[in-house]
Amino acid sequence: MGIRFILMVNKQGQTRLAQYYEWLTLEERRALEGEIVRKCLARTEQQCSFVEHRNYKIVYRRYASLFFLVGVDNDENELAILEFIHLLVETMDRHFGNVCELDIMFHLEKAHFMLEEMVMNGCVVETSKSNILAPIQLMDKTS
């Protein structure tokens, strides 16, 4: 319901982060990622950020070299999801400071923690950056 999956993919098509909220086998995932990524990467700047794929929609946005793709149900508010993607990027930016693709790669588990605080079971939980980052900063402090 709501969000089905969140992917971060770079321009060459390599997945940098993948979080699925519904179960798919490995082959299905790879096939899905391949298809979607090809579709999104092929689109130009002018075209709109929503792609219809099978029975759900993909909302995507490109930040520098990374594509953020969110797969949602058909009845979800697409503009809200666009906002959510932006919120995610801003949160990561606040934590890592000028976040880039390498940051996400080398601190994959932190990125996952952040995402987990924000989305649970396909629904947006928390939208306040300080609330999201509080437990993570706490963890960093103790370690």
């Binding site: 179960w23 697409e78 080398f106 588990e109 939980v125 609330n131 437990p135 370690s143």
Partner: protein
Amino acid sequence: MNPFSSGTRLRDMIRAIRACKTAAEERAVVRKECAAIRAAINENDQDYRHRNLAKLMFIHMLGYPTHFGQMECLKLIASAGFPEKRIGYLGLMLLLDERQEVLMLVTNSLKQDLNHSNQYIVGLALCALGNICSAEMARDLAPEVERLLQFRDPNIRKKAALCSIRIVKKVPDLAENFINPAATLLREKHHGVLITGIQLCTDLCKVSPEALEYFRKKCTEGLVRTLKDVVNSPYAPEYDIAGITDPFLHIRLLKILRILGQGDADASDTMNDILAQVATKTESNKNAGNAILYECVETIMSIEDNGGLRVLAINILGRFLSNRDNNIRYVALNMLMKAITVDAQAVQRHRATILECVKDSDASIRKRALELVYLLVNESNVRPLTKDLIEYLEVSDQEFKGDLTAKICSIVEKFSPEKIWYIDQMLKVLTEAGNFVKDEVWHALIVVISNASDLHGYTVRALYRAFQTSAEQETLVRVAVWCIGEYGDMLVNNVGVLDIEDPIKTVTESNAVDVVEIAIKRHASDLTTKAMALIALVKLSSRFPSCSERIKDIIMHYKGSLVLELQQRSLEFNSIIEKHQNIRSTLVERMPVLDEATFSGRRAGSLPATVSTSNGASLNLPNGVAKHSAAPLVDLLDLSDDAPAPGSSGSDFLHDLLGVDLAPASTQPGISQAPKSGTDVLLDLLSIGTTNPVQSNSSALDILSPGQDNQKPIAALDVLSSPLASAQANSSVGASSMIDLLDGFAPSPLKHEDNGQVYPSIVAFESSNLRITFNFSKPPGNAQTTLIQATFKNLSSNAFTDFVFQAAVPKFLQLHLDPASRNTLPASDNGSVTQSLRVTNSQHGKKALVMRIRIAYKLNNKDMLEEGQINNFPQDL
């Protein structure tokens, strides 16, 4: 050592993987790492467990199997330290799913963690539970989660709320337990809890109608108040996005208001003010504002009617439509599709903008706009809309053409105001995108063309012109070939020119044949086209006798074709042209008008062919309209129809053709105008002997039994019968077979049993050369049936040869003809020929018998034909 610095090892591994230049290298590196991890697992290595798990997660993300790490997750979860637990839970959520049985082992750990004193650990457990719990786990742990819904820490409360959502989804029965706690959540101040609380309520409403009722009654005002607070709240740096406080909360609130207000007038009333406020006050220059407006419009559209609000909503959509941002336009188009059901008028106002969107460069927008246009079409605007769409068809790109063509065709079919416009538009579409047109579409076109008899000339000329320019569109070629075959004479003689037509350079007969020749010789033509072209050539050979030789050559060319269909057709048609001149013209007469209503009915129902649709198969043969092939049956020549479409309308055509009461008019056989009444066809049927131009039994019979023309009298044409079945029986049985249109078995000899009633014999027909006498008797027990013995006497001084007697009866009678005793009648009454008939009168007692007869014979090697109607049957037969 910091367990969280995955240390150089993870980083090294990632660096190594990034440095790989080929997929094979990457696989090798991953394999090495996996081996190392597996070794570490076997050794039960404590220190590096978390690091290994982190590496495993990375590898899993790349797509390699990692199930050997699952137990590691469990061990990590069970350990005491927070970091280990953290990564254990993360691994659990990434590497496992609810279907794995391993998950059951976690239940106990989860339960302990849910009761842990450290709230972060509780949070962790809730998170994990919320993401992947299965139904059994949900049932086990539901009471814990309920308790946590009232925990003091808001973070825990919000996580517990989301966890409950999953539980409720997995086990809907537990929904009742959560209703009350959920309602309390709605009164929270903390945004996180509020959002999740609202989510929970939304899902509860979806799952259980009692929850919906409860929330509707108790919580609507509270929610409205909350929304008002959020909208009017001052600047809050925590939740501010683009100047709006927490747009996500806005949207969630609007969503739940939508669910509560749908179908309920009171609830909708309470919301009106706040919705109006949101719709007017929200700034729309930022995406966040637009998102809120979008949700607001959706809500307004779904709740009960309020005129003012609806107008407001449609205005917002109009503004969205003209926005330059593609995203906004896409969203607006989506909304408009839903708005059409509610208020079609308002949407019509934006038609022009929507049409613009069909031509947009963005594929998603184009698709949406096209669907919207399709919904907008009605009788008044169909003409300009179609014009625009067809213009766009010319410039659209390939993937889109298929969709566009299908939509245009269905619009044209549904809403065409007049036939000529329909034909025009379809021709344009065929010229542009013929290859994308589906079969049933051009079949329908042919049906319409044949029905518009005054437009035949116009159509065939237009097709001729179109063929000159766009011969690469397969469907166009097919339709053109069919029309030229049927109406070629109109093309050449410029028949039926309409005022609006441009004058066309005179088309000679050989030009027309050229067209068909090009069609048949093209490499790109497929089997259907070539087959249709062959048939068209046969028709033209009859209509244009001057080109007969040339046509014969073309047909002969396919005598040796490797494709069975073409070879057979070529041979048969050649035989028709060479040997059977006399029947050729009747064979390839104009097709009768195809009945549109039955066609669309058939098409809609797609009924399978029944026995009586055997006509369809033969309907196919002379005219080559492949779709009419009734499935199995009567393929007289074992011609495998290449397109066995189901549900032929053949039987109904024949139905219509035959089911006409006899009219006095008679027409000469072989006249090539479309028959205006069933009788003409009736007589034509009779005149050829056994053949029916529509059915082309002749082709069958001629080929199989060349010397048997005119030797088989046609029996009654019964509406219900399957004439072809009989023809088939005929062809298989041979010379002395009887063609009984009712059933294919040989008739029993005439029974002369007297029923006790004696009927006077009558002189049925008398002319200068011939007298026919009828003797009547009735079989016992069947008052409706009459047995007639017909005696023919030759009154002239020369013998008759090739004597054929045929009879036809109206619908309420059934007629059975036995073969004649012989078919030469010696002169001057030196002998007579007898023939038995059996008539069944379904309206016995109400209507008397009546019959039309036709006699054909050769006198002094001259063909003679006599016709008459017998009205003087005794009344009570």
